[in-house]
């Protein structure tokens, strides 16, 4: 691209990597702007800028709003929170009311602490179960023939074709007292009394594991599928039995896949709303439910915002971990 000073002659306006935007700027915009754009922007940057703009508008801006609201005081008005700063006429100055009470409230009311802990526990156990179920599945898919592999992958993705909500509702029908599972067990005489399956932790685990299993299997599969199988032959050649070879070669090499899968399950599972609401206990809520209740039932936006912020900060750690492993995986792939 030419870096000559002054305006580009009109016949060259249509060329250039930025196309229309640049030619418009050069024709109508200030000279300094168009020169800056010509020298510093590229089509690549523009492509990257679009999703970032999207995130800025629909993630960063709402987040900042929530962050602001979390320091306000609740009040019965519209909007239901007090502004952070106000022009006070008689004092002739702007008065800031910065309220840390919402965060203090989260710590003092045992409901929030126990809900957070319960949510983390449910998410952690579900993640572990997903890993235990998903790893062998991903391994088997990655080691099967090309035709079978595509079919099996298809089966993993197939549930996404029905609505998530419908699939969770289906579990209500399966698990309830006079549901499919109890009827079958009663029918074949394994039990005399129907089991209480629905509205238990068990039901929540079943729902989460069922719903999030693909998010565990897919990253694991994409990792395991890339493994060089001669490494296992080399391990066997050096005297390692198949199990040792798996533990010392396959497992360590699949750690990035395990981390990716676990975080893809753990992060959304902590804030899960639908599954515990439909299948879980009434006496123990998860944090997603608390969040929505605070917003929509209690109309306590400041506390709800504080809950959301704390949840986000708690999840930041695993998210950062995830990014680190993703970067490492990318670097390994480049070699």
């Amino acid at each position: 691209m030419s870096r000559s000073n002054g305006r580009v002659p009109p016949h060259e306006l249509t060329s250039g990597r930025l196309g229309l935007l640049q030619s418009l700027l050069e024709r109508f915009g200030p000279l300094r702007w168009s020169r800056y754009v010509r020298e510093h922007w590229s089509g690549q940057r523009l492509v990257i800028a679009l999703p970032y703009l999207w995130l800025l508008l629909f993630f960063a801006a709402p987040f900042l709003l929530l962050f602001k609201i979390s320091f306000s005081e609740v009040r019965m008005a519209m909007p239901p929170y007090a502004p952070l700063w106000e022009w006070v006429g008689e004092a002739q100055r702007v008065v800031f009311t910065f309220n840390l009470g919402n965060y203090g409230y989260l710590l003092t009311d045992p409901l929030y602490v126990s809900t957070f802990l319960y949510s983390v526990k449910v998410a952690a156990v579900s993640t572990l179960l997903c890993l235990l179920v998903g790893y062998p599945m991903a391994y088997a898919i990655a080691r099967s023939g090309p035709t079978a592999r595509n079919l099996l992958l298809m089966l993993i993705i197939l549930p996404f074709w029905t609505s998530f909500l419908l699939r969770v509702y289906a579990w209500v029908g399966l698990l309830k007292t006079d549901g499919v599972i109890n009827n079958i067990l009663l029918g074949i005489g394994v039990i005399d009394q129907p089991l209480t399956l629905l509205y238990t932790d068990f039901a929540v685990y079943v729902g989460i594991v069922y719903s999030y299993l693909p998010f565990m299997i897919l990253p694991l599969y994409s990792n395991l599928e890339k493994h060089d199988l001669t490494l296992l032959e080399a391990a066997a050649d050096l005297g390692a039995r198949p199990m040792t070879a798996f533990l010392k070669v396959t497992l360590p090499l699949s750690v990035p896949g395990i981390v990716a899968g676990c975080l893809l399950v753990f992060i959304p599972a902590v804030g899960e709303y639908v599954i515990p609401s439909l299948l879980g206990r009434a006496d123990q809520l998860m944090i997603g439910r608390i969040l929505s209740d605070e917003f929509f039932s209690n109309r306590d936006w400041p506390v709800a915002s504080a809950v959301a912020i704390v949840l986000l900060v708690l999840l930041l750690l695993p998210i950062l971990l995830f990014q680190r492993y993703q970067r490492r995986e990318l670097e390994a792939a480049r070699r």
């Binding site: 060089d228 001669t230 080399a234 066997a236 050649d237 050096l238 390692a240 090499l253 390994a332």
Partner: protein
């Protein structure tokens, strides 16, 4: 290199009519072979000739469809790879990418459950032998191709196997490094007294490394012999053509005596006189193979009426140590002649000169199959 004598009393590997089929495809076809202790045996052949499959059957990664493999007198049929007294160096090296060089080398010893101190000592010794001591803590991706090759070698040798299988051990190295490593391999092999079975498609590599070569074609071993035997006395047109370059003429046996034969080749004006007898049916169709370096070229006509030809120089390739001439004979056939460049400035024969070619009666090889 001077050829070592092989102690044939000391058989280490015996392959007994082994066949391996993958579906309809026969990768290895009824191969029988003995390899003796302390040998470097090269399986040489083009891609798809079954040499790697044979090697993988020795390592235990493939099972023979029929036939037996015995290592040190033991039938290996029911022995899984991790229990065979054999180690393999893989073509891709197959180094564990998540382990350091030292960890890679220690892996095999850890499987034997040796005490830590002994493992460390042997790993250290082995790394010194392959001159990688200072790289012990690097990961494979931080090494060059040649260094990786040496790690792979160290990892296979540290277990002190009696038999080491090497799959294209030098294939991934550039030419200079390859030549250097060939001699290192031979030194190591002599130093440690291990039997090597090497798979390669590179005939030069096989000639340099091997005490014996087994030439493979279409799943079968077509000739087994020392490098000299394979080069000077090929037993078939395939071997003569595959090893080195050769001028091959079809001909008819016109005189068959115990001490000599005469052959008439349509593409040569004079008859070919060979100073050794052959076993072939009278009037059999035979081929005469003459190596390019065994042909003499001169401007003056040589004496005698046999073992000679006349032609015009059409191409000259100057290779430094020698020159390759392509000569068109009167019959139109192109002949390849190599002449060593013994002097720096001599009256070399130039393009389009008419030359006379001749060879010694002991040089031609008569091939019947």
């Amino acid at each position: 290199m001077a050829e070592k004598t092989i102690d044939r009393s000391n058989e280490y590997v015996r392959i007994e009519s082994v066949t391996k089929r993958f579906g309809d495809f026969t990768a290895v076809d009824n191969v029988s072979l003995n390899v003796y202790k302390g040998e470097i045996f090269c399986l040489l052949g083009g891609s798809g000739c079954g040499k790697t499959t044979l090697l993988r059957m020795l390592a235990g990664f493939e099972t023979p469809t029929t036939g037996r493999i015995l290592i040190d007198g033991q039938d290996m049929a029911d022995t899984p790879p991790y229990q065979r007294p054999v180690n393999m160096m893989f073509q891709s090296y197959a180094l564990f990418p998540h382990m350091t060089v030292a960890k890679n080398v220690a892996f095999g010893l850890e499987q034997e459950g040796l005490p830590r101190a002994e493992i460390d000592r042997r790993v250290g010794e082995m790394l010194d032998i392959v001159k990688l001591g200072e790289f012990a803590r690097r990961k494979p991706h931080q090494l060059s191709g040649g260094q990786r090759q040496r790690v792979a070698l160290a990892r296979a040798l540290v277990k002190r196997p009696k038999l080491l299988l090497l799959d294209e051990p030098l294939g991934a190295l550039d030419k200079k490094l390859r030549e250097h490593t060939q001699f290192e391999l031979i030194n190591l092999q002599e130093q440690l007294g291990v039997t090597f079975i090497v798979v390669t498609h590179d005939q030069e590599e096989a000639m340099t490394l091997a005490t014996r070569i087994g030439v493979m074609n279409k799943g079968q071993i077509v000739q087994v012999g020392t490098p000299t035997e394979i080069y000077e006395f090929p037993n078939s047109r395939f071997v003569a053509d595959f090893i080195g370059s050769v001028n091959m003429f079809d001909g008819q046996l016109v005189e068959d005596e115990p001490g000599h034969v005469r052959i008439r080749c349509p593409e040569l004006d004079a008859t070919v006189f060979v100073s050794h007898g052959i076993s072939a049916a009278p009037d059999a169709k035979v081929s005469v193979a003459i190596r390019p370096e065994k042909i003499e070229m001169s401007r003056a006509a040589p004496p005698g009426g046999e073992n000679r030809a006349r032609g015009v120089v059409k191409e000259i390739a100057y290779m430094g140590d020698m020159s390759v001439y392509l000569v068109r004979l009167d019959s139109g056939r192109m002949l390849r002649v190599t002449i060593p460049n013994t002097q720096r400035h001599d009256e070399r024969i130039a393009w389009d000169e008419t030359v006379h070619l001749s060879w010694d009666p002991s040089s031609p090889v008569v091939l019947t199959q």
